[in-house]
């Protein structure tokens, strides 16, 4: 299983990666720091030109507030592209603002989770989301 983590805060990225690494059957977590890099990864362009180094993710974890290209724009691009539409996108944000949640679902996010300010809860959250989206949930490849 491959996870693409789009997160601009390096500390948050480390926290999430540390939790994900304890999830079984996870091959790797690819961390990008903005939406632009995430798109390059998905399209296997630029630094991710080697398809071996940029395998198609089974799950995208998305922060909203990122430089260059924010989470919302990336979400729109992913869900607007038939090649990537079926990849589950889980938004992970510090914002519990209703308008942010609504905008994400408008753009067809699969789930919206608020980052908890509590170590145990954060750990639990990542475990639960990973077990649901990576183990229980069925995904498919795009129809050619």
């Amino acid at each position: 299983m491959v996870v693409l983590l789009a997160e601009d805060d390096p500390a948050h990225a480390v926290l999430i990666e540390r939790e994900l690494q304890r999830v079984s059957a996870l091959e790797c977590v690819h961390h990008v720091r903005n939406g632009e890099d995430a798109l390059h990864y998905l399209n296997q362009q630029g630094a991710y030109g080697d398809p071996e180094l940029a395998p198609r993710p089974h799950l995208i974890l998305l922060d909203l507030n990122m430089p260059r290209m924010g989470g919302l724009e990336l979400l729109g691009r992913v869900k607007g592209d038939s090649r990537f539409r079926s990849i589950p996108v889980v938004v992970l944000s510090t914002s519990a603002e209703e308008s942010d949640v609504a905008r994400c679902y408008d753009l067809h996010a699969n789930s919206y989770l608020v980052k908890p300010v509590n170590a145990t809860q954060l750990s639990l959250l990542v475990h639960r989301l990973a077990s649901y989206w990576l183990h229980l949930n069925q995904t498919c490849l795009p129809t050619p």
Binding site: D8, D9, P10, A11, H12, V14, L15, R18, R33, N34, N65, M66, P67, R68, S93, T94, S95, E97, K115, P116, V117, N118, A119, T120, L122, S123
Partner: protein, 560 residues
């Protein structure tokens, strides 16, 4: 019309027929009586022919005295509070008109008459009314008075004849007096009605003329018939340029003529209308039209009330604008607090998350992880402190540091350029300051902060492996000065030109800072009536930040 005849019970019964030769009112034998009656009727007809008002009264007393043979005849109307006085309308005496006079009723024979009685004092009238000096002046021996009453039987006045001889109570005289009195009463009532109409008209004219609203009358084709003075003011007309003779639509602004034309058509078809429109003189007017005519289908005139509502509309528009501005400010504030709370939560997530790891790593004795955890926690607290400091700075950016004064931008920019260069460890930094920088009027402290943040921003977003070059210059515009800070740095894609000024917005997470510097610049400029924007072709094309500032001789817009 009644004269309340008391002929059947005359007050004075002891009229002696023996001395009829010295009496008036003896009309002789029956044929003479008929002739007398005919003459009286002719006299009344003659008296009332083609005359009205006081002319008629003068004519009546003359013919009355002449036909009945009395020395004096008079007609008077009741006046004063409680109708206690008589003002004569005409007096005839000794063959000629006598000047009118006014007298108190008390102690006169007319007093009884005024109560509606017909009074006969056929002789000795002076003795009966010793206080009445008029009787003395007239040398009156007899007095016959008849009340003048209106159609509702209300007493209006008296008609009286007097003579220095005793009188006889002859039916012909009674009949004659009744006829004259009827005629006089009719005329008196008509005059009273005319006066009431006139008074009412005066009252309404005064109301119309003093009304603060324009009151207009137009014909069914829309032509002005009358306009009061308030209307003249509203339409901006004068006596030299009256509206009479012009059409209502001519006072309407071009763009509203069609609409008002339809309203007028509606009113002329019998519908009351109320509408607002723009006048040709630019005023916002409100009009109410009420059609007048004998039927809905036949409207003769339209009465209109026109109000100038320009001021009211202006106030409303200003209020709307103010509300919109407040709502925008409110939304901005909401966005600000949302942004602050989310962004401050970031470091908290980090701190609490790594504290959890720290507890575990300590128990496992993993020294390397412990150091790592502590470093993340420490970085997050530092970042949080920096954010809070800059938030405080932002909140202060709206306030004044120093009072408004002329500030020479040249020395100020040179000073800041040196400071930035001395704080930069790289040799490859060049700041070029134009030598024609202006003197501007403003808060020196805030102005310094704006330039400093822009310079620091330019240096921070320099391109790797390229000498950093920053230029500062200014050009005048209509409102003051436009100052620019141009760099050859990383540039900003056009879609992010707005975003860079938002709170905690960073286009590059690799660079240090909290993304607050440009937000502070924007806040300061907004408070000082200026504006900031950025021009950049895109990635690696460099950026030019512009801001406007009022010039030294420009008072406006430099408030604090």
């Amino acid at each position: 019309m009644g004269t309340n005849s008391q002929f059947d019970s005359p007050q004075d019964h002891n009229v002696s027929h023996s001395d009829s030769s010295r009496c008036i009112g003896d009309t002789g034998d029956p044929p003479s009586k008929v002739e007398f009656t005919n003459r009286v009727l002719r006299e009344v007809i003659e008296a009332s022919a083609r005359s009205t008002g006081e002319d008629l009264f003068r004519s009546l007393v003359k013919h009355l005295a002449r036909s009945l043979g009395f020395r004096h005849a008079m007609i008077g109307r009741l006046v004063g509070e409680g109708d206690r006085r008589i003002r004569t309308l005409a007096i005839w005496g000794d063959g000629k008109p006598v000047e009118n006079l006014e007298y108190d009723l008390r102690g006169t024979p007319c007093e009884q008459v005024s109560r509606g009685e017909t009074c006969y004092h056929l002789r000795d009238v002076q003795r009966k009314f010793p206080e009445d000096e008029l009787l003395v002046q007239m040398e009156a021996e007899c007095y016959i008075g008849v009340a003048l009453r209106d159609t509702m039987s209300r007493a209006l006045g008296v008609l009286a004849v007097l003579d220095d001889r005793p009188a006889q109570n002859a039916p012909e005289i009674r009949a004659a007096l009744t006829v004259f009195a009827e005629r006089a009463a009719t005329e008196l009532e008509r005059m009273a009605a005319d006066e009431a109409t006139l008074a009412s008209e005066r009252k309404y004219r005064a109301l119309v003329e003093t009304s603060p609203y324009g009151i207009i009358r137009i014909d069914s084709a829309g032509g002005f018939l009358s306009v009061n003075s308030a209307g003249m003011t509203i339409f901006g007309r004068t006596d030299e340029h009256p509206v009479i003779g012009t059409r209502f639509l001519e006072t309407v602004a071009e763009e509203d003529r069609r609409k008002v034309g339809e309203e007028l058509r509606s009113a002329s078809q019998g519908a009351a209308r109320e509408f607002e429109y723009l006048a040709i003189n630019g005023k916002a007017l409100q009009a109410s039209l009420v059609p007048l005519g004998d039927s809905e289908a036949h409207v003769e005139t339209i009465i209109g009330i026109v109000m100038d509502v320009s001021e009211r509309r202006k106030v409303e528009a200003e209020r709307e604008a103010l509300i919109a501005e407040l709502e925008a400010k409110n939304a901005e504030l909401q966005q600000f607090t949302d942004s602050v709370s989310h962004d401050l939560k970031g470091p908290l997530v980090t701190i609490s998350g790594f504290l959890g790891h720290l507890a575990k790593d300590v128990s496992e004795g993993d020294q390397e992880r412990i150091r790592d955890d502590i470093r993340w926690i420490s970085d997050a607290t530092q970042r949080m402190k920096q954010m809070l400091d800059e938030l405080l700075e932002l909140s202060r950016a709206g306030s004044v540091i120093s009072s408004r004064e002329p500030v020479d931008l040249g020395p100020l920019v040179h000073d800041l350029a040196n400071m930035v260069k001395s704080g930069d460890d790289s040799e490859s930094l060049e700041v070029v300051v134009a030598d024609d920088l202006p003197v501007v009027l403003g808060d020196r402290g805030r102005l310094r902060q704006v330039v400093q943040n822009l310079l620091l921003n330019a240096v921070k977003f320099r391109r790797v492996n390229l000498p950093c070059r920053v230029e500062v210059g200014a050009r005048s515009n209509s409102g003051g000065w436009e100052v620019w800070v141009r760099d050859n740095g990383v540039g900003i894609a056009p879609e992010h030109h707005e975003r860079v000024f938002r709170l905690f917005e960073k286009l590059d997470s690799d660079r240090s800072g909290t993304g607050m510097g440009l937000a502070i610049v924007k806040r300061i400029l907004e408070t000082h009536g200026g504006r900031v924007w950025v021009e950049s072709e895109g990635r690696d094309q460099g950026s030019t930040f512009w801001f406007t500032w009022p010039s030294a001789n420009q008072e406006k817009g430099a408030g604090s």
